[in-house]
């Protein structure tokens, strides 16, 4: 299997970044729900700190993914897709990439506006994205919450489409993103 993408298949780097981000986004949802439910205390601070650190990690990975995408061929969509399906796939993928940036950035703005600086896993303190501002915090919190639900919705669509390709259309769209599978 090639490290780089080919017109027929995602390479190992693209696959690794894709699945790593999948794991991290699931982690983010779990951490956010866990932190929300905790009473105010060191544990809540800690879990939110993980959520923020993982979020910044996702932001960096999103940059890497885009760079890698631009440096590589993008596997083509099956020729059998109808124009609207093609458009829907594009919009979905664009939305996913957009949210990979928007979610960390709105989260970072939220915490900065609240006056809680972020440290990436305790190694490096990020600069404050925006000055302290309660109204901005409220707006960013609403946005972050809404985008989280939007992300979940688009992910569901993405997963449904992948499963349809695999089980209904029986093409290789899902398989070419899976490691350890051969091109059919």
């Amino acid at each position: 299997m090639s490290i780089r993408n080919t017109p027929a298949r995602w390479g190992t780097v693209a696959q690794f970044l894709h699945w790593l981000v999948v794991v991290l986004i699931i982690t983010q949802v779990i951490l956010a729900r866990w932190a929300e439910g905790l009473p105010i205390g060191p544990k809540k601070i800690e879990v939110y700190a993980w959520h923020k650190s993982v979020g910044i990690t996702v932001l960096c990975l999103a940059v890497l993914r885009l760079l890698w995408r631009w440096m590589n061929p993008t596997p083509e969509l099956p020729a059998t897709l109808k124009p609207y399906e093609r458009a829907l796939a594009r919009v979905t993928h664009f939305g996913l990439y957009l949210l990979l940036f928007a979610q960390p950035l709105t989260g970072w703005m939220m915490t900065s506006a609240r006056g809680f600086p972020v440290s990436w896993f305790g190694f490096w303190q990020l600069p404050d994205f925006v000055p302290r501002n309660q109204a901005l915090y409220n707006a960013m919190k609403d946005t972050h919450d809404t985008l989280a639900l939007t992300l979940i919705a688009i992910v569901c669509l993405h997963v449904a489409a992948a499963l349809k390709h695999h089980f209904v259309l029986k093409d290789d769209v899902l398989r070419r993103m899976l490691p350890f599978t051969k091109k059919s």
């Binding site: 205390g41 060191p42 600086p117």
Partner: protein, 186 residues
């Protein structure tokens, strides 16, 4: 006619009086509007800042040497820029502000150091008094008193229960004071 001896005595007496006047205590009080009392602490690995907005400071200066420093902080005035955090800091497990509304430093002696002064005295926070050295510089010309002191919060019981852990909220709190004092009545 005054004898030489009585002249001498009278001269010495006036000299002493003059010295005494020069050495008279000057009592300085705080110009709160031009002063800041801030602190820095780590929270989740990041440096966070806060300040106090209500406190009083008095400094007695004998001659040109500070002789007594007294600081009283209204703990309810702590301000970290976030109401939820401020309210949490005031709870019994942290500063317990309802029971211990004030923190105080009272010096017992002040020594001259290479860079300024070292006030030795008792710092009382959350009802726990400890001997500390408070370093500061003081310029009578403009009344500026500045310095920085690191306090370990757990030394004063600031952090009970879960808050005893220092991995999320650090033990060290760096207190920075940049005060403007004004000379008052003797």
């Amino acid at each position: 006619m005054m004898s030489t001896r009585s002249l001498l005595v009278s001269s010495v007496v006036s000299l002493l009086a003059a010295t005494a006047a020069a050495a008279a205590d000057v009592h300085y009080t705080l110009d709160a509007a031009k002063s800041t009392l801030e602190y820095q602490f780590t929270q989740a690995g990041a440096l966070n800042k806060g300040k106090f907005t209500k406190y009083t400071v008095t400094l007695d200066v004998a001659g040109d040497a500070p002789s007594k420093l007294d600081v009283v902080i209204d703990m309810a005035s702590l301000d970290t820029g976030d109401k939820e955090r401020d309210d949490t800091l005031k709870t019994p497990d942290l500063f317990s502000v309802a029971r211990f509304p004030q923190s105080r430093f009272t010096s017992t002696q002040i020594a001259k150091t290479a860079n300024g002064y070292d006030a030795v005295g008792k710092l009382t926070i959350r009802g726990v008094a400890r001997d500390v050295h408070v370093p500061f510089t003081f310029r009578p010309a403009d009344g500026s008193l500045m310095g920085k002191l690191t306090v370990k919060r757990l030394d004063y019981g600031v952090g009970q229960g879960d808050w005893k852990a220092t991995d999320q909220v650090g033990n060290d709190v760096a207190v920075t004071y940049a005060l403007k004092l004004v000379a008052g009545a003797h």
